[in-house]
Subunit: 343 residues, 2 copies
DNA sequence: CTGAAAGCGCTTACAG
DNA sequence: CTGAAAGCGCTTACAG
């Protein structure tokens, strides 16, 4: 009951005593809230500085915000997420917010567990990349915590914001490019998942692929394959594809990561890329630039996606409730994996 | 003052009322603490289940643990960190702990800021991968929060645990392999950093490299180059190296990631790997297995490193204070980038 | 503009 | 074994 500095922790109380004001006043300065005079503010700031005060996030979280944002990714392999994340950081540079990451390892159960963990920890908002949850589960999450998705096309009436590239268009650009360079039997290599939904980027890309193939009069060549989780299994699927009687002359991979596996199998089988087989990826990650890959890919500006997602999330935390959707226009980047002598 | 369920949040109090016990009793069940009868425990658990109770982490953090561990990595590009992380997850599978990641983007200032943020958020402990901070700063952090490092060789009197592979030996294995396969002019391509310390893995590898070169009577060929942060700059350094009058016949890269860049430049310059140039990496990440890379590398069992780090951290959180150091013996994995016809 | 006091949901001695 | 009560460090109405 008596004022006894149990440990030497500097709290809001220590600051208040040092500055000769109330704890309420310090709290207000801390939150940049209304109703404090400039002189009081200055005095409090000076004391904070002097004492090296740092707010106790858990205590803040009991009543107000934690200034912590959750960033949820499926895995740590895909360098595309790194691009997105750096965009998030740019947007948050001059704010109090810190971003902490969760990695679900592409397991729906882990994804759910991590979201629960982030809500338990009173995070102020969530950015979820390519959620594995069903769309209705995303809605349930968003009802509890401000949420922005990247790589999840929202259904009407969504209670969360979303940031995407136009996957439909991206896929069409790929097919049109491959057709223009003389390919006919273009296979779309998608992701193997338990519950396929319209909201998924892979589904959107498949629709674009089918449409573009039809438009090119190549409807009879339409073929979709699915890559499992592990590298070994994926390579096995690709090997089957490339050793079949009617081998495709091009493979459009839903993400660069899978494209690298295709290039590997092609090389093992002694196929010449791009002459025997063209390979196109998606995301235009840094690996595409390496000469041993030189992989044509779709650039969807990961940095921009991340930056916009962070912006929308802050807005939503501040009170906006109507859903917003930000879309980036994808761009084809041609390299040697689809056109000879392109570097 | 009166009991009024402000929101419909299920708290320890709700559970206590439902189970007809005190909040203290519920807390004990929650923490698996001593001094509760089996019947009380069962009753409380049933109520928790029924009400869908979830502990409020911020509130727990005010007095006790948050059951949150911080995992700090320099970047999201290097797939090696993914291996480590999956090991951490295995170790934590059946515990209450959740791991949240921080990515410092290889900036010392961000590393410090993230560690502060994690301490502010009352995390129970920290696993820091390849810290950029000076060794004494790591000690300061460890004085405030239980800490385990991976990829940081501790100085005597350390107040934190560490998990490493034997970098010194790993480097020697690489040089010995390259010498045995007829290479003489082996360059070590290290990491460009502001403050070089003995604690760093890159330094340890350099020492091993120098020693093995001397032992092989190749002292006059010793040459160390440094790769900057960005891919573009790194490729430029490598290009200079490979276009110099006395071109090396082998490059030992401190990490696979850099090795991929070397392979790219070599291909651009029309050099045959491994005949004109052998390339060896470190970490044996999944990229080494791709046929277009087929890169010889040192396996340091990322999974094991992560698992042991998590184990040590839990021990330390539970009270151990003397420092422990766990070392993995590295293993050379030979592929086509150093020996012809190796697949 | 400023501050006293209640309360957020837990854990921790301490008594019983 | 069980529980009443203080307290963790903040924020939030509410008075002044």
């Amino acid at each position: 009951m008596a004022p006894r500095p149990k440990s030497d922790r500097v709290t809001i109380k220590t600051v208040a005593e040092d500055a000769g004001v109330s704890v309420a006043a310090v709290s207000k300065v801390l939150r940049d809230a209304y109703g404090v005079s400039e002189s009081l503010r200055a005095r409090v700031r000076a004391s904070m500085e002097k004492l090296g005060y740092r707010p106790h996030t858990a205590a803040r979280g009991m009543r107000g915000q934690t200034y912590t944002l959750g960033f949820l990714i499926p895995d740590m392999h895909n360098p595309f997420f790194s691009d997105i994340f750096s965009g998030v950081n740019v947007a948050l540079e001059r704010t109090q917010y810190q971003t902490l990451l969760g990695v679900s390892q592409s397991a729906t159960s882990m994804e759910v567990a991590l979201i629960e963990a982030m809500i338990d920890r009173q995070m102020d908002g969530l950015i979820v990349i390519g959620p594995r949850m069903l769309s209705r589960d995303v809605m349930e999450v968003a009802a509890r915590i401000p949420t922005v998705t990247i790589g999840h096309h929202p259904t009407p009436g969504a209670n969360f914001d979303s940031v995407n590239n136009d996957d439909h268009l991206g896929a069409k650009l790929v097919v049109q490019h491959l057709v223009a360079t003389g390919h006919k039997h273009v296979v779309y290599l998608s992701q193997e998942v338990a519950d396929r939904e319209h909201t998924m980027v892979t589904t959107q890309r498949e629709i674009g692929y089918r449409e573009a193939m039809q438009e090119a009069g190549l409807g009879k060549f339409i073929q979709v394959a699915y890559a499992p989780q592990t590298s070994r299994e994926t390579q096995s699927v690709v090997r089957h594809l490339l050793q079949s009687r009617n081998r495709p002359d091009a493979i459009f991979c839903w993400t660069d990561f899978i494209g690298l596996e295709v290039l590997s199998v092609a090389k093992e089988l002694g196929l010449n890329v791009p002459n025997d087989l063209a390979v196109v990826g998606y995301d235009n990650t840094s690996y595409c630039d390496l000469a041993q890959n030189a992989m044509t890919s779709i650039d969807q500006s990961g940095q921009v996606l991340g930056l916009q997602a962070a912006r929308l999330l802050i807005e939503r935390i501040k009170g906006r409730t109507e859903a917003e959707n930000y879309t980036v226009t994808p761009r084809l980047v041609v390299r040697g994996s689809s056109v000879p002598n392109t570097g």
